[in-house]
């Protein structure tokens, strides 16, 4: 058995808004093996970001983690004090956000922002932090690091900004990295470069990676295993290859069918139906209002995640009775 670096069990994170309780993450469980690249996919609003923020325990107000376990190398992070958590953030677990233009502070230069992260976790003399900052910027492929580190975020292009954000995340060599749609806001040509960089760095720093995206194309390239989320719950967990070829959950099938494939000249198809309201989510299986295979039980009983073959988990009442279409991986 390989060791798990991360073990999430029954995680629930709710937002207590004036309109009602938003059950953004509602009983999510999955794990991450050491050095693995795991994909976290699902439509917008399915709870991907909130899951990552919950692991770091930085869910913004009025959100609150109300139940579950988040074991990191065997220790439950939800049991730790705020002070202990602060030490883990950035040094053990780091995150890269979707939009580098908003995730970098506009009023401090790059050196200051990277230096503050280093100094938050290590006591090093000033000359040494400067050397470290330059090294980091070189590692993420920023030319003329020594002059550019004195510049401000708005002086960098989108791709370069994301490289700076990556450098910040890697400043203290974390062992677990969340990449939350790191290329969604970038040009297509830049996307590939940044993804390659992430892949290289993951190997170089021996990291475990959780890749968050709703782009099935990226997920196929970047990951070896996938967790599919729908409306705050897990639908299916499988090896990337299995999931693409033999999806067992109707929602996964719909996601795959929506992938735009250049070679097939297929345009982006949107999954029919609406993303459910998370204040009063559909009863039973949350996907039932949009599912072609829904039966009466689906409206009444919540399907549990079961292992239907080694390392392939599905939460669907009907999985044995339906046959679904996958995508042949090129």
């Amino acid at each position: 058995m390989t060791e798990n670096i991360l073990n999430i069990e029954g995680l629930k994170t709710y937002f207590f808004t004036e309109a009602g309780i938003v059950k953004a993450v509602d009983d999510i469980s999955f794990n991450l093996k050491k050095n693995e690249s795991l994909g976290l996919v699902g439509e917008s609003g399915s709870g991907k970001t909130v899951t990552a923020l919950s692991v770091l325990r930085i869910v913004p107000k009025p959100g609150k983690i109300i139940d579950g376990k988040v074991e990191f190398n065997g220790d439950d992070l939800l049991e730790k004090t705020e002070k202990e958590m602060q030490k883990m953030r950035g040094s053990e677990i780091a995150i890269i956000f979707q939009d580098p233009s908003s995730s970098l502070n506009p009023v401090y230069n790059v050196e200051t922002q990277l230096r503050d992260v280093i100094l938050a976790h290590q006591t090093v003399p000033k000359a040494e932090t400067r050397k470290k900052v330059i090294e980091l910027l070189e590692v993420v492929g920023i030319p003329e690091a020594e002059t550019r580190m004195r510049e401000y975020p708005h002086q960098f292009s989108g791709g370069m900004k994301q490289r700076v954000a990556i450098a910040r995340a890697l400043a203290c060599e974390p062992t677990l990295l969340f990449a939350d749609e790191p290329t969604t806001n970038l040009d297509v040509t830049i996307q590939a470069q940044v993804l390659n960089l992430l892949n290289d760095l993951k190997k170089k720093f021996n990291m475990s990676l959780v890749m968050i995206t709703h782009d099935m194309g990226i997920i196929a390239e970047m990951t070896t295993r996938i967790v599919v989320l729908y409306a705050g719950r897990v639908c299916e967990i499988a090896k990337t290859h299995d999931l693409f070829e033999r999806p067992r959950h109707p929602y996964t099938e719909a996601l795959l069918a929506a992938v735009p494939r250049l070679d097939m000249k297929k345009t982006l198809r949107i999954i029919p139906g609406n993303i459910p309201n998370l204040i009063e989510p559909p009863s039973g299986c949350r996907f039932h209002p949009r599912c072609k295979h829904a039966k009466n039980t689906c409206k009444e009983k919540i399907p549990v995640l079961e292992e239907i073959e080694p390392e392939h988990f599905v939460a669907c009442h009907e999985w044995q009775n339906i046959s679904l279409k996958g995508e042949r991986k090129h």
């Binding site: 923020l53 770091l56 930085i58 913004p60 107000k61 602060q86 030490k87 883990m88 953030r89 950035g90 040094s91 780091a94 995150i95 956000f97 939009d99 908003s102 995730s103 970098l104 502070n105 506009p106 009023v107 401090y108 230069n109 503050d116 992260v117 938050a120 976790h121 401000y152 708005h154 954000a165 910040r168 995340a169 400043a171 203290c172």
Partner: protein, 338 residues
């Protein structure tokens, strides 16, 4: 030797810097603004009435002859444009003319008044900032908590409360009823606990400063709270937390610098009024500053004094605004000098 050379070098690099060119350009722009304001105020005022007619009220038996000779003495017999040119020529030589009430040089009067106003305002502004920043931040951090609701409603009260009324209430309570504080002026005879020159000045400052701070505080807190609320929800604050920075660093370094910009802008916009000495407050506390004298001089139709104060206020406002724009460049690197 070497330090002398490096000073020369840094001086020449200053001369060539974008900031230096910017400041020179801004100072040059002030000339037309300054002239424009002086022309408008001069003509509006001299069209408003005959400054000597008011003398008749005090001295009903004054002769027409005396008035005519006074007119000639003050140069009021000439056409208004000529009077303006005379006034301007004198001003360029640093001479604001003589007061129509008593004939004392305006320069002399304004000098001490301006100092009193600057002292009062500077202390109030600094105090208002020092108090409003932590309160605004805390209020935003604990949005909708009891403390936040209290602060928000008290500051709404502050925005809408007339300063005149607040000043009078303070005087009634602290001067007349409790006898704890002097009610008028900026200094006076040693008395009670303020029996040395320094305590005396402090005692006189307390109530006017309290009123000015209270008024600014309300506005400042509301601005800082609103900005902070937005910034605390931003990605860069979340990212700073995610990097393991301490809460103090996240708030006071990463968030605050972004929140302070709009407050400085607001200060710039309201500077005119602040420098004018918040005349009401000065009036209520008989503060010997520009603001109160402005009101008195206008009522007495003492045109040279009114013009002098107008020009001083204009200049202070223009220079303070320039200083704020420069400060802004240092606070927010995205702002480019144009």
């Amino acid at each position: 030797m070497s330090s002398g050379r490096s000073i020369t070098r840094s001086f020449s690099s200053l001369l060539g810097s974008a900031m230096f060119r910017y400041i020179v350009r801004r100072l040059l722009y002030m000339i037309p603004v300054f002239l424009g304001i002086s022309i408008i105020s001069f003509f509006v005022m001299y069209a408003a009435g005959d400054p000597l007619s008011i003398i008749r009220i005090g001295k009903p038996d004054i002769t027409q002859e005396t008035i005519e000779s006074l007119k000639i003495y003050y140069g009021l017999d000439k056409p208004v444009p000529i009077q303006y040119l005379n006034w301007l020529t004198n001003l360029l030589q640093g001479n604001f003319g003589k007061s129509l009430r008593g004939g004392r040089p305006v320069n002399l009067l304004i000098g001490s008044w301006a100092w009193e106003t600057v002292k009062l305002q500077l202390i109030s502004i600094l105090l208002a900032f020092a108090i409003s920043i932590p309160i605004g931040i805390n209020s935003a951090k604990k949005q909708y908590s009891k403390q936040d609701v209290a602060v928000t409603s008290i500051s709404l009260f502050g925005v809408s409360m007339p300063t005149f009324w607040l000043g009078i209430i303070l005087i009634i309570i602290f001067s007349y009823q409790l006898g704890l504080l002097p009610s008028a002026g900026s200094r006076g005879a040693p008395y009670l606990w303020w029996d040395n020159p320094i305590l005396d000045q402090i005692a006189h400052l307390i109530m006017p400063v309290a009123v000015l701070v209270y008024v600014m505080l309300a506005q400042n807190i509301r601005l800082i709270r609103a900005n902070m609320l937005e910034i605390l929800r931003s990605d860069y604050v979340l990212a700073a937390r995610a990097s393991g920075l301490s809460e103090r660093k996240v708030i006071y370094k990463y968030a605050l610098r972004n929140a302070i910009g709009p407050v400085i802008t607001y200060l710039g916009i309201s500077l005119g009024m602040i420098i004018a000495g918040a005349p009401m407050t000065e009036y209520v506390f008989s503060w010997p500053g520009l603001g109160r004298r402005y009101v008195t001089a206008a009522m007495e139709l003492d045109f040279p004094v009114v013009m002098g104060i107008t020009m001083i206020i204009t200049m202070m406002t223009l220079i303070a605004n320039l200083m704020i724009d420069i400060a802004y460049v240092y606070i927010d690197p995205r702002i480019r000098l144009r």
